[in-house]
Amino acid sequence: MRLLPGHGLWLVGLALACGGEPASPPPGPHEPYARPEYQALSETGLYADPASGKLAGGVRPFAPSFVLWSDGAEKQRWIELPAGAQIDTSDMNRWSFPIGTRVWKQFSLDGTALETRLIERYGSEPDDYWMGSFVWNEDQSDALFAAAGQEDVLGTPHDAPPQEKCGACHNGEPGRIIGFSALQLAGDVARAAADEQDGWSLPRLAEAQQLTAPPATDSQYTPPGDAVTADALGYLHANCGHCHNPRGTSWPDTQMVLRLDVDSGSAEDTRLYGSVVGKMLQYYRAEAGTLRVVPHDPENSALIQRMQVRGPKEQMPPLATEEVDSDGITKVKEWIASLPAL
């Protein structure tokens, strides 16, 4: 799917802004600062008033078009982009965020906040990111930093991961932030959420001159293919692509790409398609001859088999989930079933 003409209005706005008063200040120097030593969520700048839960001024919500399965937890996401700074989008597939950027993701069940995670870029070195998890207290007044994580938060099945595990998923992204990307913010879901909550979507970011290189009008920013294909590829991108890409944790072991790039052409042209459809297993120990994806045969596709495992190390994803995502599996099964048989 390509950007529809009607969705290009923000580019008009951008063009107008270029010729007149800038919509936001030009990028300024944002110097590295000391690695934060947070002990509580209330110290991180998320709230103007922690007691009431009122967000701080520069904090804006966003919603990715394709979400990571978190065992059914409700999730809210916010980002603060430092004033006067832009996201370096010279590589539209790998955004580099300005020093001072903070992004939060909050997990709740039945309206009760359980955990809030934070990624903050504090320096210019490749590893200068603070990543960690805050666990909410019983009275919901604040959340405390949990360096070692915490299992069964507030008596629920939800687990907060230890800080040392953050990199397992996020180090595969140079900017560490996974869900705030061109592909995730271009789709209908992201745009609708941004319009509703005055948050960020790709058009809104461009309009506000938050991107160093604005999106091109003829670029493809959403997953290709028909609805079934796009849904499945988007699901795999969001749930698997952060490890399964050439920068991801799994790459030395298995050269499988489950991450989508913008402008990747048709579904068959994507590296995702090329590295799974009809391709032999490389790392997973299974019966000889097993393929990652057997076209038209989801039940015999290792991809589906792995997604259905929970508990042993063979489960996929290996972290942060204890329940199978049956809806997600259905999406991927439908896509595999739609592929012509070998």
Partner: protein, 337 residues
């Protein structure tokens, strides 16, 4: 699977010796810097290494001897230069064909290019690798339990150097299931590693040598008997008493690591410091015989280019070791050099 000599079928690491302090942060550095600035590394006035990368290269190539295991070899057993540190697909091959590879350490995506410094250090010192199925305990053929006690500064240097290694695309196949471990081996307990004999004449040199032989280098790994299935890996009751067997293809006999302790009859008690340095630097023992592989000594071995100062320190540590009686049958002998 327990650690056994089988796991060392193609292993060719090792080094000689050293002595020092109990705290890795109080290691005594060598007194002289080599000409290329890569030796023990005199700190500058700010307390930082003169050349971190050069120091790292020296440690990798001539102290820890990483290429011995991580550079694949040709049919003749010679390292393939253009695949320096690119990993060996089947570094250990069991009789049934099961393989354990050594990892690609180059700056390619199939190697370390996308690993963070912290991840690389965790592999080197804790034996934990981020794998496709989460954290994976490295098999202790990789002596991470020794490197656990490397100084932070040297660890920084090793990582800094590895970042400069030219990329080689080489994905290493998954190890056979028999090599899977539930947890990494325990770090070497430095308080158990022999200190120099109290009356040793040059305790400072022996202390420096102890660091090279048991923390930054791997003498202790090959010259101490391994225990089958023990999380400590090596026998704490027989440090440096030798007796570990190595099966090296192409050799007429089975090399056995020598007793390096100061026992006069079964160890090196009658050897001089210069005799030991000669082994390290020239690959020739005091009788004029060559040293069997996998000991990587002499001009063509990893330790042959150890600095003269470091080789001397290692020799002093070996000379200072308390005696342990352990007669080693010489099952491999090379002709006089």
């Amino acid at each position: 699977m327990p650690v056994s000599k089988l796991t060392f079928l193609l292993l060719s690491t090792s080094l000689l010796a050293g002595l020092a302090c109990e705290d890795k942060d109080v290691i005594v550095p060598a007194t002289e810097n080599p000409e290329d600035g890569a030796g023990t590394g005199d700190p500058d006035s700010e307390g930082t290494p003169v050349d971190l990368v050069a120091r790292g290269q020296y440690l990798v190539d001539h102290v820890a001897a990483c290429p011995d295991c991580h550079t694949p070899r040709n049919e003749m057993g010679a390292p393939i230069p253009e695949q320096y540190l690119a990993g060996a697909d089947c570094f250990v091959r069991l009789p049934n064909g099961d393989c354990l590879g050594s990892r690609n350490l180059t700056n390619h995506e199939t190697g370390l290019a996308n690993r963070t410094d912290a991840e690389i250090k965790r592999m080197i010192t804790d034996g934990v690798r981020p794998a496709a199925t989460g954290d994976e305990a490295l098999f202790p053929v990789m002596p991470y339990y020794v490197f656990h006690n490397m100084t932070d500064q040297d660890l920084d240097a090793v990582v800094a150097y590895l970042r400069t290694v030219p990329p080689v695309e080489h994905a290493i196949q998954r190890r056979a299931a028999v090599f899977d471990l539930p947890a990494p081996a325990a770090p070497l307990d430095l308080s158990s590693v022999p200190l120099p004999l109290p009356d040793y004449a040059n305790p400072e040199a022996a202390a420096r040598g102890r660091y090279l032989a048991t923390q930054a280098g791997v003498c202790v790994e090959c010259h101490t008997k391994h225990l089958m299935g023990d999380p400590k890996v090596v026998d704490y009751a027989s440090f440096f008493a030798g007796g570990e067997e190595f099966a090296v293809p192409g050799l007429p006999g089975t090399p056995v690591s020598k007793n390096l302790t100061s026992d006069a009859e079964t160890g090196l008690g009658e050897w001089t410091v210069d005799d030991i340095v000669k082994v390290i630097k020239q690959g020739i023992d005091k009788h004029g015989d060559g040293i069997c592989p996998p000991m990587p000594v002499g001009p063509r071995g990893a330790f042959g280019d150890m600095t003269a100062e470091d080789a001397l320190d290692v020799a002093h540590y070996i000379k200072s070791l308390p005696p342990l009686v352990n007669k080693i049958e010489d099952l491999c002998a090379l002709p006089p050099m």
